[in-house]
């Protein structure tokens, strides 16, 4: 990847995230593939937490921006069929882990750039989760082959972008079938157009660079390639500088926006995300981008994330500023067991076909 793209991606995500907070999003909440999807789940009525309901246009922008680039560059390819139900389950578990920490790996880094040291605990958990996931991959884990979809059913590959465009139009029009929070984090947001444009730009960039934090660590460990990690490094530095400039940098564990200080559960929450993301082949952001790119398995994973958000809030498993409820602690522990079981059960025989 060229240095230019590393710089463009790092600055767009880092500065964009802080500017979105300045434009109205809650603290350290410029971009988050998990929390924003959770708010979308609320807007659609999948959960009924009144303060977490807003169809965040940043996510729709990601999907539309990635789709446009994928289509114009000729990379768009409808495909699917690789254990969709398992991907749905892993997506739900990935969302559960993220909502126990209160953020996806991207938001962990953005929280840290605002001085929230809980981001360090969470990122340590994420790294440990990737390490565990890689052990399963090395032992032959695979969810099986996907296949290209052609003919009329290739239309399925377009459904994510169609849904994203419809939802973006609905939130812009204030459609009555969507829920809109009147107080709390869901009521705090940048103007729709600003959020959407920020999403469109960063979505196209994420498609171009294949940004993925789990992929970044994997590339470093396996091939010593640091281009993806450099993007996240620059993202962190630019967001930190911007937070300092706007006076929104506050160093410490306590009193941070949309955060709690239960260190064990911050660690284990993103540990669960790390294992799930490695088994799924991408972090929450990457799943959204792949869904836009015609990957219907990734789209199923995103649906699993929406369902996971619904379950997490309906069954009192999601964390809040007050901490992680006992249901959430039990669910994360159970979720880790389930991911391990999936990692162990889905092993394939050697794939080498011919040896001469």
């Amino acid at each position: 990847m060229s240095t230019v793209w590393v710089i463009v991606a790092g600055l767009a995500f880092g500065l964009g995230a802080v500017l979105l907070v300045q434009a109205g999003n809650p603290g350290n909440y410029g971009f988050c593939a998990a929390c924003h999807l959770r708010d979308i789940a609320g807007a659609l009525g999948i959960h009924k937490t009144p303060v977490l309901q807003y169809a965040r246009p940043e996510i729709m922008g990601w999907v539309i921006g990635a789709f446009v680039l994928s289509k114009t560059s000729g990379e768009f390819r409808p495909r699917g069929g690789s254990a969709p139900l398992i991907r749905f389950l892993l997506g739900a578990l990935m969302m559960l882990g993220a909502l126990v920490f209160l953020g996806c790996p991207l938001r962990a880094l953005l929280r840290l750039s605002g001085g929230d040291l809980n981001g360090i605990t969470a990122l340590a958990g994420f790294l440990a989760g990737i390490g565990s996931g890689i052990i399963f991959l090395r032992n032959g884990f695979s969810l099986g082959r996907a296949r290209a979809i052609s003919g009329p059913i290739a239309f399925a590959g377009y459904l994510p972008v169609i849904f994203a465009a419809a939802l973006a139009a609905a939130v812009a029009a204030g459609a009555s079938f969507l829920y809109f929070s009147t107080k709390g984090p869901g009521s705090q947001h940048a103007p729709v157009l600003i959020s959407l444009v920020a999403g469109l730009i960063t979505g196209a960039i994420a498609m171009k660079t294949r940004m993925c934090l789990s992929g970044g660590f994997r590339d470093y460990f396996l091939v010593k390639d640091t281009s993806l990690l450099k993007i996240y490094g620059l993202l962190f530095v630019s967001a930190t500088v911007a937070n300092m400039f706007f006076g929104s940098f506050k160093l410490g564990f306590t009193g941070q926006p949309l955060a709690h200080t239960m260190h064990l559960w911050n660690f284990l929450g993103l540990y669960l995300v790390g294992v799930s993301a490695t088994l799924l082949g991408g972090c929450p952001l990457r799943q959204l981008i792949m869904a836009a790119d015609g990957n219907t398995d990734a789209a199923i994973c995103v649906l699993g994330m929406l369902a996971g958000a619904g379950a997490a809030h309906t069954l009192n498993m999601a964390a809040s500023g007050a901490g992680v409820p006992i249901n959430g602690q039990l669910a994360v522990a159970a979720g880790i067991v389930v991911t391990f079981a999936i990692g162990w059960m889905f092993r394939e025989k050697a794939l080498v076909e011919a040896t001469v």
């Binding site: 990379e75 996907a146 992929g215 091939v223 794939l351």
Partner: protein
């Protein structure tokens, strides 16, 4: 030893890991893939390990011939 491995339909990072495993004790490996991200990752890996790679031109599918 010569090997051939068909990794079409697999998503990241499985193509890279399987390619890496297949290269153990092999100095002539042919890999078929259909995921652009996987192709880039394998090319990066091969370059980092000083392998020579010949990649077929393709739009939806590529054959990589990796030799020591």
């Amino acid at each position: 030893m010569t090997k051939k491995i068909d990794l079409r339909g697999y998503s990241c990072p499985i193509p890279l890991l399987r390619t890496r495993d297949a290269l153990v004790g092999c100095d002539d490996l042919t890999v078929i893939i259909d995921e652009p991200a996987a192709r880039e990752n394998i090319l990066k890996y091969a370059a980092s390990q000083n392998y020579k790679v010949d990649c077929s031109d393709g739009k939806e599918e590529w054959t990589l011939h990796i030799v020591k």
